[in-house]
């Protein structure tokens, strides 16, 4: 049935399961229809037909699909199309297959909660003195002898508890002050917020409300937003939630989102991430029976681009030489100003970034690991689409960013997915077969970063691939699939769809690990540090709760040092954010960290390509760098 609306043809597209509908103009893509219907589809490339993720099955109706290499002939016969490459030519009913269901039924994705754990141990304890705190005060009523103004009386009392050379109050607060003080018989609670060297009197409440001070620490990641609700008095984490960053619809990679912001204005990208934060905070607050107005601070750690989106700063210069940020250490702002719904006078704090491509999440990581106070040399590797690498000690800290690509986050891999429910997170490959474990022990849906690392290390150890990562065509479980070799991890019968690792997947993963290892090895070499001089290696990243360190070494992702020196910490950005929220000392330290870290630009390194090519081998072209792997695998290299 066709509808005539304002002279333009519109068609109805129904999405199964669930039956959500959208009316879209003729020749709109199914991806656009899905967005209009509120059906979230995975789209890594932002609708350019490159990633092959937005798979749909056309059940009925007229849909015209452009040819694509991402679908097999068999799949095309079964009605598979890529949503971004298929346009509507009539009413249609399409099915979202399990692998394309991003799971946005709930406000919060259960899937993303996997990112909550584990959390970095704090490298150091800071004094508990939250950025925003409440003080219960009992003021002496004014007399003729003591006839200070109401504001000055309040300030005098505050200064008895906390040194605050510069104290400021907003006009709104002052206007309400006389009545409030008298009605409450001079017993009030003052909310104080640190803003640089100034302490702001955010609000005054009647009576004793000092026990109800809450804040949220948020890791604003490119793919996942993770929030913790914190009791600022006790320092306790009351609740935690996570969801995928809704900006993903504009592309998986930051650069694509910057381009989108440049083309369409930054408002939409801001709104998306702000709504994500609001969803998470309101859900936790409801669950804990806390009043939203008692949440007085939000502290975010994010990469520099995310901070730009959040504050609606123009991000364009970030992606152009010389990659300059609008602001690396933006001041605290009223949360309401950017649309975050907490106490209307509550503040939004952003951890300072180090450079255009090394953001506040890394500052948080340094703070959380205490790398900048280490006696010995330590290395922090945060694995993401950009792998950030930090090397240093109490004397100096250097950081760089290696463009690894999203393979370890599940993109650019045929059956890749994030470390969410149903993702294969652990793999053992034996000559006799494959053993695996999925997140939540759910039926396997795909392969996440930790599973990919395990799988490739396992394939290498079991002799399925050579040191260049080439699959042996004659090996058991190796098949030819759409013109390339693939290793069957889970046969079609055991999973909703066959889960394979193709030759190209292995190459993508090797490129990613080579970029990260090359970054590590260049940073070490430039600073004259040998791997064995490292007293600690901290690994962070969105791997969920599991990462097999031995396999990470076998792959050549991280230097071959005794494993007891390697610590997998998970989300260090969030750990650092909590420290800063709970301690002004930690917050100030974060400012010093960000200002004191030297940024090293890998791209300008003349031997980057050499290091990268040498690292593309398993575990590395120079086996002398991986003595334990050589020993364990008896790799026959002459010494």
């Amino acid at each position: 049935m066709e509808a005539q609306l304002s002279g333009k043809r519109e068609y109805r597209v129904t999405f199964l399961p669930g039956g959500k509908e959208a009316r879209v103009a003729a020749r709109a893509t199914l991806l656009a229809a899905a967005a209009a219907a509120g059906v979230e589809l995975p789209s890594v490339c932002g609708g350019e037909g490159i990633c092959g993720r937005c798979r749909l099955i056309v059940r009925q109706g007229q849909v015209e699909a452009a040819p694509t290499l991402h679908l097999s002939r068999e799949e095309i016969k079964r009605g598979y199309v890529l949503a971004c490459q298929a346009v509507v030519r009539g009413d249609a009913v399409v099915e979202v297959p399990p692998e394309s269901r991003a799971g946005r039924e709930a406000v919060v994705d259960l899937d993303a909660r996997e990112f909550l754990a584990p959390e970095a141990e704090a490298g150091e304890k800071f004094p508990r003195e939250p950025l925003v705190e409440k003080l219960f005060l009992s003021l002496p009523p004014p007399t003729l002898e003591d006839n200070l103004g109401d504001q000055e009386r309040l300030f005098r009392e505050i200064r008895r508890f906390r040194p605050a050379p510069i104290l400021q109050a907003g006009l709104k607060v002052l206007q309400s002050l006389p009545a409030l003080l008298r009605d409450s018989r001079w017993r009030v609670t003052a909310t104080l917020a640190q803003r640089g060297g100034t302490v702001e009197l955010l609000q005054v409440e009647p009576g004793d409300r000092a026990g109800t001070t809450y804040g949220a620490a948020i890791d604003v990641g490119t793919s996942t937003v993770v929030a913790h609700l914190i009791d600022l008095n006790s320092g306790e984490t009351l609740d935690a939630e996570a969801k995928y960053n809704s900006q993903r619809a504009y592309g998986e990679e930051v650069t694509r989102r910057i381009i989108a912001a440049e083309r369409q204005g930054p408002t939409r990208l801001q709104a998306l991430v702000v709504e994500d934060i609001n969803d998470l905070v309101s859900l936790m607050v409801d669950r804990q029976g806390i009043k939203l107005s008692d949440v007085v601070a939000v502290l975010c750690a994010g990469n520099t681009a995310m901070v730009h989106f959040l504050l609606r700063l123009p991000p364009g210069a970030l992606r152009r030489h010389p990659y300059v940020a609008a602001a690396l250490a933006p001041p605290p702002v009223r949360a309401a100003e950017v649309g975050i719904r907490i106490n209307p006078r509550g503040l939004l704090y952003l951890l300072p970034g180090i450079g255009g491509w090394v953001g506040g999440d890394i500052t948080a990581g340094i703070l959380a690991t205490g790398l900048h106070k280490c006696e010995g040399l330590a290395l922090l590797i945060d694995i993401g689409t950009n792998g950030e690498i930090v090397l240093g000690s109490k004397d100096w800290v250097v950081a760089c960013s290696a463009s690894a690509g999203p393979a370890f986050e599940g993109a650019g891999v045929t059956c890749g997915m994030r470390a969410s429910r149903g993702a294969i997170a652990q793999v053992e490959i034996h000559p006799t077969g494959v053993r695996y474990r999925t997140v939540g022990d759910a039926p396997p849906q795909g392969l996440c970063g930790s599973g990919l690392i395990d799988a490739i290390a396992g394939l290498f150890r079991a002799g399925y691939i050579d040191r260049a990562g080439r699959l042996r065509p004659d090996a058991k479980l190796v098949r030819e699939r759409a013109g390339e070799l693939a290793f069957v991890l889970v046969p079609a019968g055991e999973a909703p769809r066959e889960i394979v690792i193709t030759q190209r997947d292995i190459e993508n993963a090797l490129r990613a690990k080579a970029a990260i290892y090359a970054g590590v090895s260049i940073l070490l070499r430039e600073m004259g540090v040998r791997p064995r001089d490292l007293s600690r290696i901290y690994l962070a990243g969105a791997f969920g709760s599991h990462l097999d360190l031995r396999n990470a070494v076998t792959l050549g992702l991280i230097p071959d040092v005794p494993l007891e020196r390697v610590h997998f910490l998970g989300n260090t950005a969030l750990a650092g954010a909590k420290l800063a929220l709970l301690s002004r000392t930690a917050w100030e330290e974060a400012q010093r960290i960000a200002a004191g870290v030297t940024y090293y630009d890998l791209i300008s390194c003349p031997y980057y390509y050499d290091e990268f090519m040498a690292a593309k081998f398993l575990p590395h072209t120079d086996l002398a760098r991986f003595p334990t792997v050589r020993g364990a695998l008896r790799l026959g290299e002459p010494v």
């Binding site: 050579d466 040191r467 260049a468 080439r470 050499d610 090519m613 040498a614 593309k616 081998f617 072209t621 790799l635 026959g636 290299e637 002459p638």
Partner: protein
């Protein structure tokens, strides 16, 4: 009092592997002359630093089919023998003093004449009969076809200790297995990349092939077409090998003729480029200049085409090795 002059000679910890090609009847082959390359203990021609036991050698190129794209200058000397690889090889050895013959199986290319493995074998047999110098046998470069042709070719040349090529990062298993089975050496090819060069050697070694059986081919560029890139890669490779990296201590081969005779500086007739001068002098000169540069970079085997360029290169090798000094 005598002033002590410090010893500034460079000494390296390792010699380049020595690779001998060809086999005499006693050794199971039919060659009368063997060729040995490698064994250097110093950078090219730095005789004052260490021993250079074997001079670089020139191999001349022979095809299994008459070449179509060779320019007249380099066709002329071979015009009469193009139809017979045996006669062609004979001319190279007897008239032009080629130390080796490089038989290139261009005719097997599936995008060209697409000749069968049997036809390739015939060409190999012809050359083996016609000349008594060692042989380099170079596939058509299409991996699947090479893997199809080499089993018969390697078997037909069994015991002759030929140099077969090439293996690459993507295609090394078949040829290394054949070379092991039939007693040949192998050319390890890499795309002007020192890391990949080493990686190919490692892959061959992991496949059970001895490092001493490899000759490295780092790719070749003609003068004016990136020669300096190849030069630095070869120089770095040789220094790594001399300094003890056993995975980089192979003799090196350059494919000069094929590259040079594809560029316009060597090909263009004087009518097209009057200011460049007579191509009959210019072409061979371009080839000789390219070859000379690679000698200095550490090449042990040079595959060449034009007799004049070959003559000039052999003369240069003689002088650089100290002949007549």
């Amino acid at each position: 009092m005598a002033i002590e002059v410090p010893d500034v000679r460079e000494s390296f910890s390792q010699a380049i592997y020595t690779v001998t090609l060809g086999a005499t009847p006693q050794e199971g082959g039919t060659r009368e002359r063997l060729i040995t390359v490698g064994g250097e203990r110093a950078l090219p021609f730095h005789h004052f630093d260490g021993e250079i036991p074997h001079p670089p050698v020139v191999a001349m190129e022979v095809w299994d089919i008459p070449p179509q794209d060779w320019p007249p200058v380099v066709r002329a000397p071979f015009q009469d023998v193009f139809d017979d690889p045996g006669e062609w090889a004979k001319k190279c050895v007897e008239e032009y003093g080629a130390a080796l013959i490089c038989l290139r199986l261009v005719g097997c290319d599936p995008n060209g004449a697409n000749r069968s493995p049997q036809e390739a074998v015939q060409a190999v047999r012809r050359v083996l009969e016609a000349v008594k110098v060692p042989l380099i046998i170079w596939g058509c470069g299409v991996p699947d076809k090479d893997n199809d042709v080499f089993p018969s070719v390697a078997e037909a040349a069994q015991g002759e200790n030929c140099l077969l090529g090439t293996i690459t990062e993507d295609n090394y298993k078949t040829l290394t297995a054949l070379a092991t089975a039939y007693g040949h050496k192998v050319i390890a090819e890499s795309p002007v990349d020192i890391n990949i060069a080493k990686q190919v050697n490692i892959l061959a070694m992991d496949a059970g092939f001895p490092l001493e059986g490899l000759v490295m081919y780092p790719s070749t560029a003609a003068l004016g077409y990136g020669l300096e890139y190849v030069y630095t890669i070869m120089e770095r490779t040789r220094i790594a090998g001399l300094r003890g990296d056993k995975l980089m201590a192979m003799p090196m081969l350059v494919d000069v003729g094929r590259e040079v005779w594809g560029v316009k500086e060597a090909r263009a007739p004087v009518e097209e480029q009057p200011e460049w001068g007579d191509e009959r002098a210019r072409g061979p000169f371009w080839e000789a200049a390219t070859a000379y540069t690679y000698l200095l970079a550490g090449a042990d085997i040079l595959i060449m085409r034009h007799p004049e360029a070959v003559r000039a290169t052999k003369l240069a090798i003689g002088k650089l090795m100290g002949e007549g000094a």
